[in-house]
């Protein structure tokens, strides 16, 4: 028997061994099937916790009430009650400790999101009070004449 014929086989096996050893070092220990199926549950377990720890940015109006009770109360009693504070002021995380002032959205484009008349039949949008941007008080901010926290009121 000419044993030299098996040399390439040893080379192949050697390569597989190297890969398996590399696996021990390079693949995290909690990588495996964590669930019913190899198809859908093959992953590194600790990643789930990493995603749970992703920083939360929007805190909801409950966190604004503490310091801004007046505005929140005014808003809750107005036609804009369903609008979250952070929709116009951006995410509140870090405020007021790291971020002293949250942005105040005053642009026309922001209000037009809901109030530009698109005149769509049988659409919830058409039930909102609306204007035509092209013809309604061009070049002026909406807040000049309308109070966002209570659109029924007039600004001082």
């Amino acid at each position: 028997m000419k044993w030299h014929v098996l040399r390439p086989l040893w080379l192949a096996i050697g390569l597989v061994v190297v890969i398996l050893i590399a696996r021990q070092f390079m693949v995290p220990d909690d990588f495996g099937v964590h669930g019913d199926s190899f198809t859908y549950n093959f992953y590194r377990q600790s990643n789930v916790q990493e995603w749970k720890e992703f920083p939360v940015k929007h805190l909801g109006h409950e966190s604004c009430v503490e310091c801004h009770e007046e505005k929140v109360t005014m808003l809750s009693a107005s036609p804009h009650a369903a609008i979250e504070c952070e929709n116009c002021h951006g995410p509140a995380a870090g405020h007021p400790d790291e971020i002293e002032f949250l942005p105040i959205e005053r642009s026309r484009e922001h209000c037009l999101r809901c109030h530009e008349a698109l005149e769509y039949p049988h659409n919830a949008r058409s039930e909102l009070p609306n204007i035509r941007n092209r013809t309604h008080k061009r070049r002026r901010e909406c807040v000049t004449c309308h109070v966002p926290h209570d659109p029924r009121e007039k600004p001082e």
Binding site: P8, L15, F38
Partner: protein, 418 residues
């Protein structure tokens, strides 16, 4: 230029009508190159096996060349993937944590297996040559000779027995590997076809015929490339011989060359017919069953991609070379033209599948136009642009030149090192 936060695909995709916001042409030129290169690998190996396994004596010389060329093509086939990956440093992961439900996970294992088979087969074929080189270089002075001696020593892997018995065993082993290698080579390319064919979300790719179409056209491209490279090299040798030695010697080369080319051409035509038939079948079925996606597919295939598919691929790339190769009085020049057209046709097939499959939106209500980046202005537009593709195309030739210095595959007759 903010190269940090550029959305991959935005620089070469132009959207028309309604396309989902996140849709871009994510799989661009390198994903066209990848099946093209693996196809060449598979085809070259099959050509080599036609001699080793099926004893087609007329193919002996081109068989040796295409075996070594197949090895040079293999790393070049992995290169497009490295250039495409958004995280190329993690390229080993399919070998470390292969998720076998994914066709792409087969890549690591199939590539490695196939590489080992080709390397082993070459070892068995050239072992006697390696041993002879070690004996010839022993005791010679000079750094170059020392280097070559050590390389050949390593290549022998310590197996110095070149008795007739040992060589017979070598020969048998090479034959077994050539036989085993055929299904592996087919798998190497078939799985690439499966990668596309199994994507149910893509109306153009989803087809059980896709793996078979890919394999057939892969073999066509592999045979064509080997034939073409072989002709170019042989013509160059004949040209040199005519100038330096004698006209007779040159004519001898050309005579043997045309025998080989004639035999190889028959196989090329066979696989070409198979490839074309399957593609036409797929097209007919789609039109006949007219599923939800047929409207947009038809507007892509018969509309904006009509030239790419029917003129460039089917006519120039399939029909014209088919006719050129069949007409009587075939000359070497005509064969070369036909082979170039065949290679172009197979490339267009890969292009039309990969890019064509992303030419329409998942919404079936919009289109995406692909603009291949020509002049690179960032790493991304180089990697996934014309120059990236050309680098990939040039690599196998560079590698072959290096490998051939240690594993000569172009000598003939008594000079042959195998």
């Amino acid at each position: 230029m903010t190269s940090e936060a550029v959305v991959h695909g935005v620089e070469w995709t132009v959207k028309e009508l309604f396309v989902y916001p996140n849709e871009f042409i994510y799989w661009s030129i390198q994903i066209v190159m990848y099946p093209y290169m693996t196809g060449l690998v598979a085809g070259a190996f099959v050509l080599s096996s036609l001699y080793h396994v099926f004893g087609q004596k007329g193919l002996k010389e081109i068989a040796q060349f295409s075996l070594v060329f197949s090895l040079a093509l293999l790393p070049a086939a992995g290169l497009p993937l490295l250039l495409h990956l958004q995280q190329p440093t993690r390229a080993m992961e399919p070998l470390l944590t292969p998720h076998f439900t994914s066709a792409i996970s087969a890549f690591g294992i199939v590539f490695t297996t196939y590489g080992l088979i080709v390397v082993s087969e070459i070892w068995f074929v050239y072992r006697r040559f390696f041993v002879e080189q070690v004996h010839a270089l022993k005791g010679k002075e000079g750094f170059g000779n020392m280097l070559r001696l050590n390389v050949y020593r390593a290549l022998t892997m310590g197996a110095f027995d070149i008795s007739d018995e040992a060589l017979k065993v070598d020969h048998k082993a090479a034959k077994i590997l050539a036989g085993v290698g055929i299904p592996v080579a087919c798998f190497l390319h078939g799985y690439a076809g499966f990668i596309f064919g199994s994507v149910k979300a893509n109306a153009l790719w989803m087809s059980p015929l896709m793996p078979v179409i890919f394999i057939m056209s892969a073999v066509v491209s592999g045979i064509a490339l080997c034939m073409l490279t072989y002709i170019v090299i042989m013509e160059w040798k004949a040209f040199r011989l005519r100038r330096t030695v004698s006209v007779t010697a040159a004519t001898e080369i050309k005579g043997a060359e045309s025998d080989i080319i004639n035999t190889a051409t028959r196989y090329l035509l066979g696989f070409l017919v198979a490839a074309i038939s399957l593609e036409i079948l797929d097209l007919i079925f789609r039109g006949y069953t007219a599923m939800k996606s047929w409207d947009i597919l038809r507007s892509v295939m018969y509309g904006k991609d009509f030239v790419n598919i029917f003129v460039l691929q089917y006519t120039l790339g399939n029909l014209v070379p088919f006719v050129l190769l069949l007409l009587p009085g075939r000359t070497m020049k005509r064969t070369v033209v036909a082979l170039i057209l065949v290679l172009f046709g197979v490339f267009m097939m890969r292009w039309n599948v990969v890019i064509g499959g992303q030419a329409f939106s998942l919404s079936f209500s919009g289109y995406m136009h692909y603009h291949l980046p020509i002049i690179p202005h960032s790493l991304e537009t180089f990697k996934e642009g014309l120059f990236g593709a050309l680098s990939v195309a040039a690599t196998p030739f560079v590698l072959f030149w290096i490998i051939n210095k240690f594993v000569p595959s172009l000598e003939r007759g008594e000079e042959a090192k195998y």
